[in-house]
């Protein structure tokens, strides 16, 4: 039979946990709104830029001396995986999904005899991966998105990437992040950053067709000013910046969404637990009273 006092303590502790989770839910909801707005506002730029790189790249495709950032270094030996996770936990399967995906990718690549390097954005990713891939993690970038993701954050990541690429640190780069769909669902996305992969236009929301409706066909011939090469040299690093920025924004919106959902669940679970504990508490209390009464009555009868 559980002790009354213990039950009381339990109930109080669950109650204070509930207070914390519900506060975290509120905070996440507020942050989510802002992050979501930012992520959605940044989509047009990323889309236009991707299209532009695709256009320029197409007319340059197959030509000798196209920049390696566009067509690849010709080798696929060293793979770099950029894992976008959060710095903090308590957000459901958000970090776990990324870690699992990176782990599967890394194992598959290693089985094919490739060298894998991992760049972690966010502390949780490093924590989750360091035991297995400790030697493969080249760098960890933390503290992104504490006050909303800024373009400078993305530039920091992108610059690390570009410097590494120029130094021959890797041949292929993939970024793994959660694309924001709604507060409940995040879509795990792995996107090829280097070499440039033409975007699949089909996966964009059908509602936003204003930008792509009257697109000139891929075979359209553009006039370039200055030369394609020069434009590309400027455009490619910018594109990487932008894709990273977009990924970070999506990831941050997803993080808050995931946290909001999981904290909502936690709050509800705490509520259920309080109910059931209160029930036990009351039963126990009643049982104690009954027992005392029986003792008194039977005591009186014995006289």
């Amino acid at each position: 039979m559980p002790n009354l006092k213990d039950l009381k303590v339990r109930i109080n502790s669950v109650k204070s946990t509930q207070k914390i989770t519900s506060a975290m839910k509120m905070v996440a909801a507020a942050k989510l709104r802002r992050a979501q707005e930012n992520a959605e506002a940044a989509r047009p730029y990323a889309e236009v830029m991707e299209r532009m790189v695709a256009d320029v790249g197409e007319s340059l495709g197959g030509i000798e001396g196209a920049p390696p950032m566009l067509v690849g270094t010709g080798s696929t030996q060293i793979h770099l995986i950029v894992a976008c996770t959060a710095d903090r936990g308590l957000c459901g399967g958000f970090n776990g999904a990324i870690i699992r995906e990176v782990r599967t990718m890394a194992h598959d690549l290693k089985r094919d005899g490739k060298i894998v390097r991992i760049l972690c954005v966010g502390r949780k990713g490093r924590d989750g991966l360091k035991r297995e891939f400790g030697d493969d993690i080249v760098e960890t970038i933390e503290g992104i998105g504490r006050r909303g993701v800024e373009f400078a954050d993305a530039r920091k990541v992108a610059e690390t990437l570009i410097t590494m690429f120029d130094a021959g640190g890797f041949d292929v780069c993939t970024i793994v992040f959660n694309r924001f769909q709604s507060a409940m669902t995040q879509i795990l996305t792995s996107q090829l950053l280097i070499p440039f992969a033409a975007p699949e236009t089909a996966d964009d929301e059908a509602g936003k067709d204003s930008a792509g409706a009257d697109d000139p066909g891929p075979s359209a011939i553009f006039v370039y000013e200055p030369e394609e090469q020069e434009i590309l040299a400027e455009l490619l690093p910018k594109n990487i910046n932008q894709q990273v920025f977009q990924a970070l924004l999506e990831s941050s919106a997803s993080e808050h969404g995931a946290r909001m959902t999981s904290m909502d669940n936690a709050t509800r679970n705490a509520g259920d637990m309080i109910d059931s504990l209160t029930l036990t508490f009351n039963r126990t209390r009643q049982a104690a009273i009954t027992r005392e009464l029986i003792e008194i009555i039977s005591g009186a009868e014995a006289l």
Binding site: N38, A41, A42, P44, Y45, V48, M49, R51, M52, D55, V56, F151, S210, A211, D214, D215, P216, A220, I221, F222, V223, Y224, E225, P226, E230, I231, E234, L235, K238, Q242, F245
Partner: protein, 140 residues
Amino acid sequence: MSEVSNTIDFELVSPEKLLKSEPVEMVVVPCTEGDIGVLPGHSLLIATVRPGVIDIHEGGQVRESIFVAGGFAEVSPERCTVLAEEAVPVADIDPAQAEKRLEDAKQALTKAGEAEDGDTAAAEKEFKTAEAMLAAASAE
């Protein structure tokens, strides 16, 4: 939409958001190799944009001027898209602030020039941007 349209869809996008998306009669974009006036039916073009002022024309008059700090422009017969790294309506530029930015950029440039393998490219770019911004502000 009629076959022959006398407006062209102009889009101005910055990394943070879509700043402007509207049909215009003509837009003048400052490209690296000279200003380009874009009218409906312009041939396909991709160009780099230098720091300068985009003018939106209507009825032969400049209706709106927006300062951009460089970027890219993509032109098709129906659409003109400008990817700007930074965009401010000319009317909103504070000349004093622009002047300060130019001053800061100048210092950064000299500092970068003095350092051995300093990164002068970035400093120079910032200097040019600030210069164009101030020019835009004082032309207003």
